[in-house]
């Protein structure tokens, strides 16, 4: 019976739970969520590949032609790759509601725009 006052107070207040998906909570500043690449800045140094604890990044090609394959399923959202990239090509997004329908959808391939050689 020690909780009676508390209980009657709660009867009048609005419930604490949210009616998801109609009410959502705003993500905080600095949330660690999916990362993304600005592929034009990447120089293919593969520091991010070496530091990733979950082996989620794959580098295809070399140097300035390198392309990135990023597997969200293996990503730990630790943010080490964002810290280590020398050209700041990797940036953190606020995308944390990640739902996929197949394993193939979890892999994002960041391709470069092809340079047209002047003939």
């Amino acid at each position: 019976m020690a909780m009676e006052n508390d209980m009657f107070k709660n009867l009048k207040e609005k419930p604490m739970t949210l009616r998801f998906p109609y009410e959502r909570v705003e993500p905080v500043e600095g949330i660690r969520a999916k990362v993304s690449w600005d592929i034009e800045k990447c120089i293919g140094c593969s520091l991010c590949v070496r530091i990733c604890p979950g082996n989620a990044i794959e580098l295809i090609g070399r140097g300035r032609r390198a392309e990135i394959r990023y597997n969200v399923g293996r990503c730990l959202f630790c943010g080490e790759c964002v810290d280590v990239c020398p050209t700041k090509a990797i940036y953190a997004t606020e995308d944390f509601e990640l739902v996929f329908n197949s394993r193939r959808e979890m892999i994002t391939h960041f391709k470069r725009k092809k340079n047209r050689k002047k003939s």
């Binding site: 019976m1 009676e4 009867l11 604490m16 009616r19």
Partner: protein, 318 residues
Amino acid sequence: MVSEEIWILIEIFLFPGFLFLFSLAFFTEWFDRKIVARFQNRYGPLHVGPKGILQPIADFFKLLSKEDITPRAADKVPFRLMPILLLTLAIAPLFCIPIMGSNGLISFEGDLVLIMFIMSLMALLVFIGGWASTNRFGTIGSIRAGLQMFAYEIPMNLSMIGPAISAGSLSVSKIVEWQINGVWNVLIQPVGFAVLTICLMAHLQRIPFDIPEAESEIVGGWLVEFSGKKLALIRLANDFEFVLASSLMASLFLGGPYGPWYISLITYLAKFLLCAFILSNLRAAFARYRIDHLLTGAWKYLTPLALLQVCLIKAWGI
């Protein structure tokens, strides 16, 4: 002549008979879940129907459509019969409770004793159901249900006899009539009301006395092997027992319905919802007791208090 019989059929099947009772049972389950949820600072049923009022019906139909498994080692006949009997016995006493006017559909001298007898039979059926499932947890749950019956039967029956002694009759309808002409029993027998509330919580197997069904200790107790249609019927029987408990509290102590038919329905529902609110409040406010706590507490406090209440009635001569 014919219209008389049609009127009886309407009374039995529609109002205040089966249709009304079924809707009242589902509504009471919704009310209970919503009140307990609001006490716990969350929403309760929300989406099915306006404000979630159709959720218990949805749960009932979901359970009806699930697979119904009978364990190989179980006693087939008691195991299969028990949910049906439980549901039947849960609906039967409700016909004696006055809802429209001060006379129930069935009222005779001694129907209070019939109600008490059927409530004891329901507890016995719980014991048989758990025993027949031959599961270790089911056996422990059924033993506990039997022990629990030892604890609350006597104080409950004594506190129900109290209003009968005051009114001088063993019929619920007569007790209600006596209260309409006099004063509500809760004002002259408050101890009896409190004892009846606590014993009804034990009979309904709600927290703090849901010992036979303790989920976190014995994984469901006597309910553990029931699934599909049987579980649906058992849960519906639980709802009807809740309706019966609230109606008994409202009729025996709070005066029951009175007045012409539209007013009597409203007064009945108001008192019924007040008693349901009290039962839901008590459910949210306590931890679960152990079986030995319940037994010692019942024999040390509840039974003497109920006896004291009966003696006081005789002493005051009311």
